[in-house]
């Protein structure tokens, strides 16, 4: 029995290591080499549209509501200490440091990541990737690379939009509805938020998460078993693996950036 368990563990570990190796090779093949801007740029624009612009709506709506909820919850606690003047920094710091990058990454994994996995898995299943290879066009460069860069560019931008909208949402609830002084909402925020420490660290987090989510999504699609069941499993795995990895890395990054 124990040897069975050990064998199971060993096999899983080997599979994971092999999968990680394959994903590394995929990314290496896609990104290393001389880029061709003449052909690459239009493809990048197309993917920025598919990955970035189409994710904008869900990001704006979620950002607005999360900012509003933060303000509402924060206010009820802060008002007990007579410290509702600190509502601004509470909303802004929560969003900039944590919620902005993390929630954006989770939504992004669900919205764009799963779609990417399904798209690439389906291209594989219908032999479009093979066909491209036989036409002497490298699918890693033609399909994977533009999607990777579009994702890495889009996610920090989406996180910035999320943060801005969230802070406005907090203003909407805190100032316009609950009656916190508008001047102090902004001024305490300005006194407590630092461009480098908070805003830019959030952006760095977001870039790291972007690489994680997009890499997982592309690899799961590229490595999917080319059947309908295989693709559906790969899509689920993308969302689950990407979300958990993002949360894990969030802890590490938070400890490195703000823990010391």
């Amino acid at each position: 029995m124990i040897t069975d368990k050990l064998q199971h563990l060993g096999r899983n570990t080997l599979n994971n290591v092999a999968g990680f190796g394959r994903s590394g090779l995929m990314l290496f093949g896609a990104l290393v080499g001389k880029p061709d801007f003449r052909k690459g740029f239009p493809l990048l624009i197309k993917q920025l549209y598919v990955i970035g612009v189409l994710s904008l709506l869900i990001i704006v709506v979620s950002g607005l509501f999360i900012g509003m909820v933060l303000a509402l919850q924060g206010y009820t606690v802060l008002v007990k200490f007579g410290a509702e003047g600190m509502l601004g920094p509470l909303v802004a710091l929560s969003l900039l440091r944590e919620l902005g990058p993390v929630v954006t990454a989770l939504l992004f994994a669900g919205r764009a990541g799963s779609a990417l996995t399904a798209e690439i898995g389906l291209m594989k299943a219908t032999e479009q990737l093979s066909g491209m290879e036989m036409m002497a066009v490298d699918p890693l460069r033609r399909i994977i690379a533009p999607r990777f860069w579009a994702g890495v560019i889009s996610m920090p931008l989406l996180a910035l939009v999320f943060n801005a909208v969230g802070i406005l949402g907090g203003h909407l609830i805190g100032v316009d509805w609950l009656g916190v002084d508008g001047g102090s909402y902004w001024s305490t925020m300005q006194a407590n938020v630092d461009l480098y420490q908070d805003v830019l660290n959030g952006v760095i987090k977001s870039i790291v998460f972007a690489v994680i989510v997009i890499w997982i999504a592309l690899h799961k699609g590229y490595d999917a078993i080319p059947t309908s069941e295989g693709i559906s499993r790969a899509t689920t795995q993308t969302v689950v693996t990407a979300s958990l990895t993002v949360l894990g890395f969030d802890f590490i990054l938070t400890a490195l950036m703000f823990g010391g």
Partner: protein, 267 residues
């Protein structure tokens, strides 16, 4: 320039623990239609992927125009692939582009021709498969036969020297089957290219092939012109050509003795 376009020498290939080819050899002559026939599941598509360099054999050589495909570097392989082309069973059209853009795709990727010339080439290629009027349709709007013809137009877009057809007749109605048979023959003669047709549709293949290889049980079991093959003494070849259910290729997948397994549950 040698007369032989593709020369496969003592090719062995296995997938996992399954040995698929065991020391197989065959030659494809320039300018001819060579057919590879055999029962399903013997890895005919695999053979085309081996020639295209998408898979690497365990041992043996695959010479394409004098170059050993498995030994080529990545860049050399991509150069060699520009001279070959493959028609996939599913067509493998890019679903997010129109028929026109699909056919234009290889031209745009590999040349820097102006758009006006690309348009001319694409229209000529589409005309030759009879789909000039369907150029603005999306692949999802095409029937199976039309999709395969569109894919054929794309496959010949860059005037390859070798074109490989993977099961071109599978799942086609008699009319589109006839259309594709005619197209393969005409393209081969008109463009002077070399064709490899992989199929198990005996009648269609026998009608267009100049030379036929019958592959089964990991190796070539018979080869020759269609006439020679009809005279072949081999039981296996005759079973395949006549389409008999049981014979030298057994009806049953290899298994333990039937009685033993039935008795096992009774015990």
């Amino acid at each position: 320039m040698s007369d032989i376009m593709v020369d496969i020498q003592r090719l062995s290939f296995s997938r996992g623990e399954n040995l698929i080819y065991d020391g197989m050899s065959m030659q494809v002559r320039r300018g001819k239609v060579t057919a590879i026939m055999g029962p399903s599941g013997i890895g005919k598509t695999t053979l085309l992927k081996l020639i295209g360099g998408q898979l690497k054999p365990d041992s043996g050589h695959i010479l394409f125009d004098g170059q050993d495909i498995p030994a080529l570097s990545r860049a050399e392989l991509y150069q060699a692939r520009k001279k070959m082309s493959m028609l996939f069973q599913s067509g493998a059209l890019f679903t997010e582009m129109s028929v026109f853009d699909n056919v234009a795709f290889p031209i745009r990727e590999h040349t820097r021709l102006p758009e006006s010339i690309i348009r001319l080439i694409v229209l000529m290629k589409l005309e030759s498969v009879g789909l000039r009027g369907a150029r603005d349709l999306m692949p999802a709007e095409l029937s199976g036969g039309m999709a395969r013809r569109a894919a054929l137009a794309r496959a010949i877009a860059l005037d390859p020297e070798l074109i490989m057809y993977d099961e071109p007749f599978a799942g086609q109605d008699p009319i589109s089957m006839g259309v594709i048979v005619r197209l393969i023959k005409e393209l081969n003669n008109a463009l002077g290219l070399t064709s490899i047709v992989v199929s198990h549709d005996v009648t269609e293949v026998m009608s267009i092939a100049d030379y036929v290889y019958v592959v089964a049980e990991k190796k070539v079991i018979g080869h020759g012109t269609p006439e020679q093959l009809r005279q072949d003494k081999s039981e296996l070849v005759q079973q395949f050509l006549q389409g008999e259910a049981d014979g030298a290729v057994p009806f049953h997948y290899r298994a333990n003795a039937y009685e033993d397994e039935l008795m096992e549950s009774a015990r």
